[in-house]
Symmetry: C2
Subunit: 318 residues, 2 copies
Amino acid sequence: MKYFITGAAGFIGSNLVDRLIEQGHYVVGYDNFSTGREVFLEQARQSQHFRLVRGDTLDLPALTNAMKGVDFVFHLAANADVRFGTEHPRKDLEQNTIATFNVLEAMRTNGVSRIGFSSTGSVYGEPDIFPTPENAPFPVQTSFYGASKLACEGLIQAYCEGYKFQGYIFRFVSILGERYTHGHVFDFFNSLRQNPLELHVLGNGLQRKSYLYVQDCIDAMLLAAEKAVDKINILNLGTDEYCQVNDSICWITKHLGLQPRLIYGGGERGWIGDSPFIFLETQKAFSLGWKPKLTIKDSVINTLTYLQENSWLMEECR
Amino acid sequence: MKYFITGAAGFIGSNLVDRLIEQGHYVVGYDNFSTGREVFLEQARQSQHFRLVRGDTLDLPALTNAMKGVDFVFHLAANADVRFGTEHPRKDLEQNTIATFNVLEAMRTNGVSRIGFSSTGSVYGEPDIFPTPENAPFPVQTSFYGASKLACEGLIQAYCEGYKFQGYIFRFVSILGERYTHGHVFDFFNSLRQNPLELHVLGNGLQRKSYLYVQDCIDAMLLAAEKAVDKINILNLGTDEYCQVNDSICWITKHLGLQPRLIYGGGERGWIGDSPFIFLETQKAFSLGWKPKLTIKDSVINTLTYLQENSWLMEECR
């Protein structure tokens, strides 16, 4: 198969590129390197099965041109910055909603009809049901990020209905693992490197969150694309557990051998649009035969170890 | 109060303009006249309480400038053409999603925080529950129109959460009444004027649909804006009944004294993305004290009478 991956130089994208090449597939990676990193594609670029195209998803002609002759598109490029939505609402509209429209149009032009899409548990807003199933009550959006991903989901569904596309919509919890470059483990580790005696925590530390290891995430995406046969396949991806922010702090500080003073920002939410409880029902994905191999705790430790071994990332991200 | 109405020269918009002026309010009407009509604003333009601004919702500076000093925005401008979405998917993205983003940004710049929005029952896709409540299971989109309105809803919700806006999201069934210029009553009447002996019907005629009279719709919108106090108020607007396409054909032909041969296109759906059954739960709106005055049948006859008295519309819309 020949895959097209947007956001190929990103955290999840580059891991997916490596996996597909390992499996013998051909991959065209598309990235504008706004947050993606050359170094994440070092391994892939040694393969003759990989071609990198530098380009922006907002550049429809370039995107259309790059996509020629592929069989399947994984659209992972996005503004994944959930926290600062209110500082630049246009960013989510452009880099998520309009970019996804462009990906779908490029597919239509090229006669490519199968798409896998990285959506998010944030589309559930602040749900009332936990674990939250795919058919939870019609949600109300609480973040620009969630709203833009919801818009993308709707577009993909309309293309499936209107142009006989086949869509795989993955509603991720937060993903952890190798090449992880933003989120709470990164922020906490980075902060503790600078000051091991104090740790500032957004919110009250009681927020309950879910995480999934990136390789488990990729297992699920590829299995779904192989086994789920509906026109539109919507799947929550997470583990069957959640943790408190305080649990994670405990694992991280213990692993680092630190005992910082914890300074809480206070409040149930870490920021505007932060969901105090994220816990997705994953039975639907499990029923395909998928099961995550790492627990949340293992994913956190694994990520931390990766960051310790790659401290250059801290410098780059300052 | 000073209201700002996008799509002020349209079917629902112009009726809302007239009502608000009647009630003694000030109204700034904004319209690009792509489908709106000068004549619908004839009455309003005789009032010193009304100001018309010709402009496009995609022109953010013009929109922002026109909105200065208003208290409440009714954003009704849209591509309301549900049926031809697959012919121009970009239209719904631009005229609905991006336009709504612009309206919200113009509000933010002007410090206006209250918005009423014309969404649609189409956001429920093809639901499993009838009548369909506002908190129906997370829907899957079946049309570009529905997908774009869903995107608009998400944006409005994110602005309510992120910038303390107050939002009124109205999920309409099909609206009928004076100044109605597209939809099945228009199409059937127009077709029968040209050939009273034959009537082509999209689908099998068994599609079950809901309709609401435009003045009833306006009653509900204004009552909700007055009485519903949540940050985000989502209300289905329709009557507590539905009819079959064949019922409506029967009412129309009887009213016109015709007995045309009916030629069915066949299939459960009239077009790609057509929902074979639309019937919304309206208890939430009823609980505010609202009740529609006209039945679906009365609305259809009323609309037909309006079209008979305004046959120039038929000529213009050819």
